[in-house]
Symmetry: C2
Amino acid sequence: MLDVALLGTGGMMPLPDRFLTSLLLRLKGHMLLIDCGEGTQITLKQMGWGFKNIDVICFTHYHADHISGLPGLLLTIGNSDRREPVVLMGPHGLKRVYEGLKTICPELPFEVIINEIDPWENMEVGVFNISACKLEHKITCLGYRIDVKRIGKFNVEKAKALNIPIKLWSLLQKRESVEFEGNIYTSDMVLGDERKGIRVSYITDSRPVSAIPGFIKGSDLFICEGMYGEEEKLQKAKEYKHMLYSEAGRLAAEGCVKEMWLTHFSPSMPFPEEYIRNARKYFSNTYVGKDRKNVTLLFEDDING
Amino acid sequence: MLDVALLGTGGMMPLPDRFLTSLLLRLKGHMLLIDCGEGTQITLKQMGWGFKNIDVICFTHYHADHISGLPGLLLTIGNSDRREPVVLMGPHGLKRVYEGLKTICPELPFEVIINEIDPWENMEVGVFNISACKLEHKITCLGYRIDVKRIGKFNVEKAKALNIPIKLWSLLQKRESVEFEGNIYTSDMVLGDERKGIRVSYITDSRPVSAIPGFIKGSDLFICEGMYGEEEKLQKAKEYKHMLYSEAGRLAAEGCVKEMWLTHFSPSMPFPEEYIRNARKYFSNTYVGKDRKNVTLLFEDDING
């Protein structure tokens, strides 16, 4: 299972009741954060999931509203006694940006690993499987997809039929191979086909480019920017390289996702729920994001028994 | 009159109900900010005094909790249509720190003027008279004092006796000299002695060094750090170069100030008011600062009529 929390849902500037857009994921006690604007550590504190286990921070791009909270967060992670490295990941330029911000957090009690990535890369960082997608914003910007793989079901009948000693079962279940009393046992002997995992995708800040539906395909949860709810702001959306609700709705439908949460609302839109019909027209399972809105996503076969 | 507002009262890290220590002053529609940690723009928004008229931002020092909100604030000031320069002022190193932070706010629609200052300097920046004092912290740190001067009272009897035309009075009242029909009139002909102005002083982060009482002397409002309320934290205060409430109280008493507000509370102290007696023992007119606590300070002769 994967815990998902929106830490903030605002674009451009943090507001008293709407912090800057950021997403927190928790898997097996490890946390991954996407974007870290000014104030992100405040809602992190409110969530109560702690700071110490943040292993990875991904950045979509380096506009201040997506990264200005980084120095403070790193210091707070340090004060939470973390000593293991923290991975920062984002488009090219991250080294330069981090060097700049480091002037106000020069001494941290852990190593910071900078990972500048290219679009379409896929990588495993700790427990997380991360993919990136090229978006269209004023500057280079990446979308992210996190996949939690789900191995095949352990076939007890098969294991018994093959006379595999019970004490080896848990190792085989972890996809390990074992040699025991001259015999070699491999996990494919007892594991069924890989089962459906969990997929969360995160797209902001961007125009609705054609690569997105394929990238987010089948997501259990698709988190997408909805900078403007009003249809008549299309020209503005094009100019500032953002999306309308309706454009997000179309992407969700084309991507055959299960559920969409809108986020990254313009400060000019005090009631984001007012325009939700504009997204639901294309994708009915749309919800307006709120700060600290969260869900625990389960594996399909855990839900269906 | 001078409006004074504490924007935040926390030290080290912003908390959901206690933002980072920062002070806002407003004089004749112009604003001066001291320190700008992560989230300062959020309480600024809550105050409702606007962003456009922030002329000066002073920094005590460059630990992240005092400056990490700068890039976001500058962008928001830009979005509020300011086109006039903004002055940044602080101890040496400001240029280097600003260059670093500028990586995430490279384009602003106004000029940023960097003013690295020495302790004991006194300068006029716009409507503000600013003095700085050397403190004792882990890195170079300055205290600030803002003085609002109050010119002498216009003496109507004298002006009449000297036959000064009434239409010249307002110019003389502004300390200007006027030539009219061959005569030169100077303001000292009609203005009394300079009257008591308004003084606000701001001391954080520091040990209680001996220069402070003289520097804050007679302040109408003395805002002072109270990192630790508990007397038994003296060793910690010495180690981290901060103050106890009792030390702040002694400074206020020695400086003969009128009123003291404590601020910059340790995150380990959830109820700062719990220890107020430790400061009041030395200075009874002590109050615990709260986010957005504010007051309008009047000139003495406006109060007394």
